[in-house]
Symmetry: C2
DNA sequence: TAATGTGAAAACCTTCACAGCT
DNA sequence: AGCTGTGAAGGTTTTCACATTA
């Protein structure tokens, strides 16, 4: 979110930004901003603030957002096709370079410029294309199995679209996209407008 | 996640479950499970554990998951169409009962069993159909405006698919679905396998 | 004057450990 | 014997407040 806001600021012509202003944009306190940044370096100038362009570049480098991250997709059903055709990944360096499906009907079908391959090819493709991230778009009942296969094949990051809470070891980085869970985590607060939703995003 | 795990347990024929077992399934400590539940009531029996069916019903009621939550969709582009046709919402009580788009070309087109309506109809439709949740699937540059319109029209919960951090007042409940941000929050840990990713999901 | 970077304090959250119930 | 519910302890995170510097 820091990088995103800094990109916006840069594109709006800002050269310098204070923790105060960043806090306003990110809905955080200025103290939080300064503490966060202080863990990674001393990026600011007292009396002035942070150089937008400089801070943005530093953070992009620290977070690894300045490089390409090849990914593979498992499952080319409705959701999988939407993912592969989603234009938001490539400009941020996330490139789906291979797609797999267990359904023989789907194999060799061209989707979004790549050919769907059988699950047997997984390990080889991951090694060949230096794939570090696996995107899981298979039905819930197959998701844990597929995630295990991806990890066995050498993937260390998982973006999981299946509505389950996958079990993975501590050295695997997993993020879940689960719209139903997101909605279900809102309803309590919709009923109790007096309750303060601490977790806002 | 509690409700989901309890549903699984029920369907697998379990009658009782301990905080120990729940902890195993949810990757949490037994103490955390007991503490969480204790904030809402005393659902367990000492020496025995929690009755699966009973705890599930209680939590569903507390969280408001035992009722219908009519929602509306803004933006019927590629993503919006995928959302409206997604079969996972309805069984959980989240029903998209109205769809809107600012593009006159889309108006009155039937998508997923409902007619696309112009933005002017928003307030009326929200009142008529008791809509409490708005699902935002418009381009980033329009998202904040649309969210403001939804809130003005009376919606209190927002499920936002646009890659922005919307600014909303404290009494609005918002959840963001942002796959790119999810990927971007993984890369640091993919580079530093020694760093412990505290935030795992 | 204006804003950072940072120890210290305050607030918050998780885990421990055990009395007490089944 | 087994497991909950819960004060107290232990950790972690956020905020405060100010010395410091441009």
């Amino acid at each position: 979110m820091y990088v995103r806001v800094l990109t916006q600021l840069r594109d709006s012509g800002y050269d310098v930004v204070s923790s105060q202003q960043l806090g306003g944009l990110l809905q955080m306190t200025p103290a939080q901003i300064r503490k966060d940044l202080s863990y990674f370096g001393r990026f600011g100038k007292q009396g002035r603030g942070y150089n937008v362009q400089f801070l943005r570049e530093e953070l992009r480098q620290i977070l690894g957002l300045d490089r390409k991250w090849p990914a593979c997709l498992i499952g080319v059903g409705r959701l999988g096709q939407a993912i592969i055709n989603y234009p938001g990944f490539v400009p941020e360096g996330f490139n789906v370079v291979a797609a797999f499906d267990s359904d023989p009907e789907q194999i060799a079908r061209p989707i979004g410029g790549i050919l769907v391959r059988p699950m047997e090819d997984l390990e080889q493709a991951i090694r060949e294309s230096n794939i570090t991230i696996g995107i899981v778009a298979v039905p819930a009942r197959e998701a844990q199995k597929v995630i295990d296969q991806l990890i066995n094949a050498g993937v260390r990051g998982i973006l999981n679209y299946a509505p389950i809470a996958p079990k993975v070891s501590m050295d695997i980085v997993i993020r879940n996209i689960d719209p139903v869970l997101s909605l279900q985590s809102m309803t309590f607060y919709l009923m109790h407008e007096d309750a303060i939703p601490i977790i806002r995003r």
